[in-house]
Amino acid sequence: MHIDVLEKRWMWLVGLMVVIMLGTIFYTALANAVHPPSNVETIDSTRLHLSEEFAEDKLGVETMADGSVRVTMVAARYGIFPQHIEVPLKTPVTFRIATPDVLHGLHIPFSNMDTMVIPGFVSEVTTQFQFEGEQPMFCNEYCGLGHHYMWSRVKVVAK
């Protein structure tokens, strides 16, 4: 096979680019444990309202013994419940979210709180909010004709 000297140089350059990009990703993932939501946890979506965790009176923000915060939410056509939540700034916040119906996706702009919500599964995301103020949380995956009406408010407050 004939490989031109210019091609060889370009191959090295391409190889270097890939190594740098993947190196960064693997470093942040393995050394800093930066991962997208991947908890692989099932739930009976027809019985959310009867479950320990996602019954209506269990939803909302809870501060744990170690100072971290847990937010339990249900995404259902066409709303995100509770509709208003308040979470502390620069504190680990773990969201646990389930749905009784179809696919949804929840995203708070300017943050990495972005997860699909899949019927039959629980989504879990841990993040720390860096900016104070009220942000919207949108449903960002098509879930039906009222998809665009589905959103809620998240207020980030200084401790």
Binding site: I3, V14, H107, F121, Y149
Partner: protein, 539 residues
């Protein structure tokens, strides 16, 4: 090979279905941005039906029909032999048409507003899934014909390198068989039984995993014809040579091997796959950038040779010396430009952690409209401008109109996608009928929403010019004398070709091992989990 053996009717039957539906989908695209921006009356259902139709046509109909039609013509003209089993080819066309009609029926009777990505547990009318299955199975007949013709030529020409255009086409046929298997499993074993009511529940995690198997390599199925044109038509049209035939083969092989086992970058924020497998697919995703970077290099090098042959001097002087008046050269340059911009957005999407900032936002359609709507479709235009005179024997109606059309397409695409990137960073969700959110953040979106309408108008104008030019070519009285399809010659003729660069057997085995590693456990795990099956839903 005389002209009467050319599969002109067969190719035209495919290409015209591709382009007439494309025109309709372009108009639907304009409607969607207009609804979103609030410049036409809001109609929620109309918007989501339109999104479903736009995605289905652009992603499945335009692409599949174009690729199949172009493939028959490429096989015939590059191998210089008749299309094998034309009856089978026409059967494939009929099946694909039947599939399209069923999907159209489901969409316009408002029974399939589930987008082209299916999105179970939303459940459409059975015609939608059976139509999609027919389209895929019909295109599989094309795959078989391509592979048989590739094999026949090799048998008749032992030891000789298969022409690069046919090598790429066969790579694409094999890629498509591998690729479509994922969605075929989902449709046949999950969605059709659910739509008919044979089963009551569906495992959405499994369905999405199977869909992700198809969802990434399908873009290489769309892209490979564009790359074939970049390797064999662009340097030829520019008056240069192909820089390296063998690198082209390597690029097609890498697209086949690395394009497949990487679908989980579409599932980064899905909770039913573990982070280890997502990271594994992330690594492959960056590897598949390699063949694109090789292609960019080879095409640019071929263009530089042409520019210097035309008397271009200095570091950049060769660019000016290129024959930009030729639609193929202009399209090649504009395609590389949009590929670079879209590739940048893609690297962000592919980045395991950074992805969460933009996942499911407008950033994503911005990326794939540049790569697919930009790079791929503009090369489909250029291929058509080149082949129409060869096929009809009539000169292209207007090269000037073709140039204007290509520029309009590029400018329109940039005007649409640059604001989309910005909107994505501002958190705007994709695929929303309009913006009812009562929040101050929305004010920052407004200007971009108007700009995209302007871009979409340019795109529809461009699509119209394209169709008019082809139609007028059919009626042109000026003859086209040169009916030969000319493929670029490499600088270094390929004298000895290793078996691995002239066939696919070994690569299929490697791919099989890679696919088992990437997908076997992630699929089997759904039988180890329990309680996740859910019932069907409407919308």
């Amino acid at each position: 090979m005389s002209e009467q053996h050319r599969p002109v009717g067969l190719a035209m039957a495919h290409l015209w279905v591709a382009f007439l539906t494309f025109l309709l989908a372009a108009v639907l695209g304009l409607y969607q941005v207009a609804v979103r921006a609030g410049v036409v009356p809001q109609w929620d259902e109309g918007y989501y039906i339109s999104v479903s139709a736009h995605g289905n046509i652009m992603g499945f109909v335009l692409t599949t029909f174009f690729i199949v039609g172009f493939g028959y013509y490429t096989a015939n003209t590059s191998l210089k032999r008749k299309v094998w089993a034309p009856g089978l080819a026409w059967t494939g066309w009929l099946m694909m048409m039947a599939g399209v009609l069923l999907v159209v029926f489901a969409l316009i009777t408002r029974q399939a507003t589930v987008l082209y990505t299916f999105y179970p547990p939303l459940t459409a009318h059975w015609t939608y899934y059976v139509g999609a299955a027919l389209l895929v199975v019909g295109s599989f007949l094309w795959c078989v014909i391509m592979i048989v013709m590739f094999g026949q030529w090799k048998k008749d020409n032992p030891g000789k390198p298969v022409p690069l255009a046919m090598y790429g086409t066969t790579a694409n046929a094999i890629l498509w068989l591998w690729t479509a298997t994922g969605v075929a499993l989902e449709v046949v074993f999950q969605l059709i039984p659910l739509a008919f009511g044979w089963v009551d529940t569906i495992d959405v995690g499994l369905a999405r995993t199977l869909f992700s198997w198809t969802l990434h390599p399908i873009v290489y199925f769309w892209l490979i014809p564009a790359y074939i044109a970049m390797y064999v038509f662009v340097p030829q049209a520019a008056g240069g040579r192909l820089f390296s035939d063998e690198m082209g083969r390597v690029a097609f092989i890498m697209l086949l091997v690395f394009g497949l086992p990487i679908g989980f970058h579409h599932l980064y924020v899905d909770p039913f796959q573990s982070d280890g497998y997502k990271l594994f697919h992330a690594a492959g995703t960056f590897m598949v950038a390699v063949p694109t970077l090789f292609t960019g290099f080879t095409v640019m090098a071929g263009l530089e040779i042409a520019g210097r042959l035309h008397g271009g001097k200095g570091l950049f002087g060769w660019i000016k010396a290129l024959p930009w008046e030729k639609p193929m050269v202009l399209a090649g340059g504009l395609a590389l430009l949009m590929l670079t911009a879209g590739g940048f957005g893609g690297v962000v999407n592919a980045s395991y952690a950074m992805n969460t900032m933009v996942h499911n936002t407008m950033w994503v359609p911005a990326h794939f409209h540049l790569i697919f709507g930009g790079t791929v479709v503009i090369m489909y235009f250029a291929i058509s401008y080149y082949l129409w005179p060869k096929m009809t024997g009539r000169a292209l109606f207007s090269a000037g109109m073709a140039r204007k059309q290509l520029w309009l397409w590029t400018i329109g695409m940039l005007i649409v996608t640059i604001p989309w990137h910005w909107l994505g960073l501002l958190g705007v969700p994709r695929r929303t009928a309009w913006v009812p959110y009562d929040h101050p953040l929305v004010e920052q979106w407004t200007s971009s929403q108007y700009i995209m309408v302007f871009g979409a108008i340019l795109l529809v104008l461009s699509a119209l010019l394209f169709i008019i030019n082809l139609l007028m070519t059919h009626m042109n009285s000026a003859r086209e004398d040169n009916r030969e399809v000319e493929y670029a010659e490499p600088i270094h003729p390929v004298l000895n070709i290793s078996k691995s660069l002239n066939g696919f057997a070994i690569w299929n085995w490697i791919l099989l091992v890679y696919m088992v590693a990437a997908f076997a456990y992630p699929i089997l795990q759904f039988w180890m989990l329990s309680g996740q099956d859910v019932m069907a839903w409407g919308w």
